[in-house]
């Protein structure tokens, strides 16, 4: 849930609850005030009756007005308790409301009313008095107030939502900017996260923390790279010594078959160690963008050369090589392009089976290297990871990582797919 949505939700619910509660209180208060008003009116009426009786010693003429009815009934003396009641007010249709009379068979309708039950003694006779006043106007008033209140609630909500949206969007803008920068952040990139202009302390703090973190991460990463580079360089010397000692050792002659087998194994191990080391160094260099010399390269010619270079190895494995190469010029580092081609082609050879196939095609859009292999479809995410190797692979586990890095460096894409029986690597220009 977005912060804004959650905020609006909470806001909405609390506003509605608060407004409803105030609405109820409001209603009750108005209703109470108006009822008291009515009760006063009723008391005035009662007083008038008392005055009339005291003056004239008989009951006043009962008449009916639009909003008041007075009835006198005989009652046992002392049986009437004076009280205000909520009751019905039977309203007869007026002449001027003729249309209503036509629509109704009855002569009137009940409306809610407020009544006062009281008593009066005229001479020796005891009467119960019921004064009823219509509450219609009161209720109309309350209804009006209610409608206005609802209207105000809705308006308020609308305004709140709109301002919230506006204010939140504006207020949170620095936050989203930081997020965007974080998303763009690349530890290997030289690009720094820019300092944010904001008056809000929290965001400024967040920005500072993010900047610190980024620079620390970059610093650590740089340290790590320097370490890798130094370690690789330092390794070169002992490898060189081992290599040269092996070269010297085989000059001493008279080896048994067992010894020469051991020496061969040593040679392969040393050369693997060397290649691994070279690959690590190369990777560091590509990531550091140290190999930036670029020029126009005829990729078709380079690919042809590469295939020629591998000819004996293709033959040795009995691989059928199919090339469909069109002219394609790229602007890239010749060295890295060679490494890329060499990696892709040697993978196609290494993971192939005897008498398998390698298909290389070059078009204006892409370079595709396909090969048959004993393996099922590979996991695209894993194969580009460092040191990911298929079982039994003699490679360094860095070849595809390097290839991917080179492609990224050139702004190309490198994708894997499994088509039919072919493992397919596509470099998209």
């Amino acid at each position: 849930m977005k912060l804004q949505a959650r905020y609006n939700y909470v806001n909405l619910v609390t506003t509605i609850i608060v407004l409803l509660i105030t609405g109820i209180i409001y209603y009750q208060a108005i209703s109470w005030i108006l009822t008291r008003q009515k009760d006063k009116d009723l008391k005035v009426e009662e007083d008038e009756i008392y005055e009339y009786v005291a003056l004239n010693h008989h009951l006043p003429q009962t008449f009916e007005s639009n909003d008041q009815q007075i009835t006198f009934t005989d009652a046992k003396p002392g049986s009437v308790k004076r009280e205000f009641i909520n009751t019905d007010y039977y309203k007869r249709w007026d002449r001027d409301k003729g249309f209503k009379r036509r629509n109704h068979r009855s002569e009137g309708e009940y409306e809610s009313g407020r009544g006062l039950v009281t008593s009066v003694t005229v001479g020796d006779k005891y009467y119960k008095i019921l004064i009823v006043e219509s509450k219609v106007e009161t209720e109309d008033l309350i209804r009006l107030i209610f409608i206005i209140t609802i209207g105000v609630i809705l308006l308020l909500l609308l305004v709140l939502l709109a301002t919230n949206r506006f204010i939140l969007n504006r207020l949170w803008k620095p936050f989203y900017n930081i997020m965007k920068e974080l998303r763009l952040f690349n530890i290997a990139d030289a690009r720094e996260i820019p300092k944010l202009e904001t008056d809000i302390d929290e965001f400024e703090e967040l920005n500072t923390v993010v900047l610190d973190m980024a620079s620390k991460a970059k610093h650590d990463y740089k340290d790590l790279k320097i370490f890798t580079e130094n370690a690789s360089h330092e390794l070169m010397t002992p490898i060189a010594v081992i290599n040269s000692k092996l070269d010297t050792l085989i000059q001493t002659e008279n080896f048994s078959e067992r010894q020469s087998k051991l020496l061969n194994d040593l040679y392969s191990a040393v050369s693997r160690l060397n290649r691994l080391n070279q690959s690590l160094l190369l990777l560091v260099k590509i990531e550091n963008r140290l190999l930036h010399e670029r020029q126009q390269i005829n990729l078709r010619e380079l690919t042809e050369e590469m295939v020629m270079q591998f000819e004996e190895i293709f033959q040795d494995k009995g691989l059928k090589v199919t090339c469909a190469l069109n002219d394609k010029q790229i602007y890239a580092s010749p060295y890295l392009t060679e490494v890329l081609l060499s990696n892709l082609i040697s993978n196609a050879i290494r993971h192939n089976y005897k008498a398998g196939e390698v298909v290389i095609s070059l078009t204006g859009e892409s370079l595709v290297v396909q090969n048959t292999a004993n393996m099922a479809e590979l996991n695209e995410e894993k194969i580009f990871a460092r040191f990911h190797k298929s079982s039994g692979s003699e490679g360094s586990g860095l070849g595809l990582t390097i290839s991917k890095q080179i492609c990224e460096n050139f702004g190309f894409s490198l994708k894997y797919s499994f088509e039919g029986m072919y493992h397919t690597f596509t470099v998209g220009f």
Partner: protein
């Protein structure tokens, strides 16, 4: 030929010295910058193997010193840094070649031979070995008077063998020399065998002696015996 090995790593220095000395060459060594500097200011060498990172100074300064004094010594830079900039710097300063550590001694020998050939024969591009005549410019091989048609790789192989004559050259070294770094995908080096077989056959058909011997399944040896 006379060679100066400027290399601070003792193991490597000794191996190189041993590998080059057997051939009747004169090898001198220097383990640090001052020693190297005093050697080059007094003696001249056919080829100087120059390590870049030296105790007491940089190999590049030695190279500069040589060039400033117009000394004609061939220089082969040995560097642990496989960096294009370093390579270009070295070659721009007048080094003849640049070899990245680690290397096979046979590769080093082949490179040194090439440098010395260029220096000493000065325009003459013929390499002679008994009945073999190799025109380095035209890349043509003759046994006596009869030409031998070799593929590019067979030709490179022959030169490599001649540069390392009398030495056992490992299959790894041959493979890396002929196929470069891409060689690592080969599970074994059996295909080298077919190249060597072809080269041998072509040479012998032209009337050449069989100089190429297999050495204990580890490599080959180009030898007169």
């Amino acid at each position: 030929m006379k060679i100066l090995i400027i290399e601070d790593e003792e193991g490597l220095r000794e191996s190189i010295e041993e590998y080059f000395s057997e051939d009747g060459n004169i090898c001198e060594t220097a383990a640090n910058y001052p020693a190297a500097l005093s050697k080059i200011s007094v003696y001249r060498y056919d080829c100087i193997l120059l390590d870049i990172t030296l105790p007491g100074g940089s190999g590049m300064d030695i190279l500069k010193n040589l060039k400033a004094n117009n000394h004609p010594d061939g220089v082969l830079i040995l560097s642990a840094k496989n960096s294009l900039d370093d390579r270009l710097d070295g070659l721009n300063l007048g080094a003849d070649d640049y070899l990245v550590k680690p290397f096979h001694l046979s590769e080093l020998k082949a490179r040194v031979s090439a440098i010395i050939r260029r220096k000493t024969f000065n325009g003459s591009n013929m390499l002679l070995f008994n009945e073999l005549t190799i025109d380095l410019l035209a890349k043509e091989v003759k046994v006596g008077q009869s030409p031998v048609k070799l593929t590019r790789k067979e030709y490179a192989l022959l030169l490599y063998f001649i540069a390392n004559k009398g030495k056992v050259v490992s299959k790894n070294a041959i493979a890396e020399h002929l196929w470069g770094d891409g060689i690592d995908m080969a599970n074994n080096f059996d295909f080298i065998y077919s190249h060597i077989k072809n080269l041998r056959k072509k040479l012998m058909e032209a009337g050449c002696n069989d100089y190429i011997q297999a050495a204990y399944g580890m490599g080959y040896k180009f030898t007169e015996q």
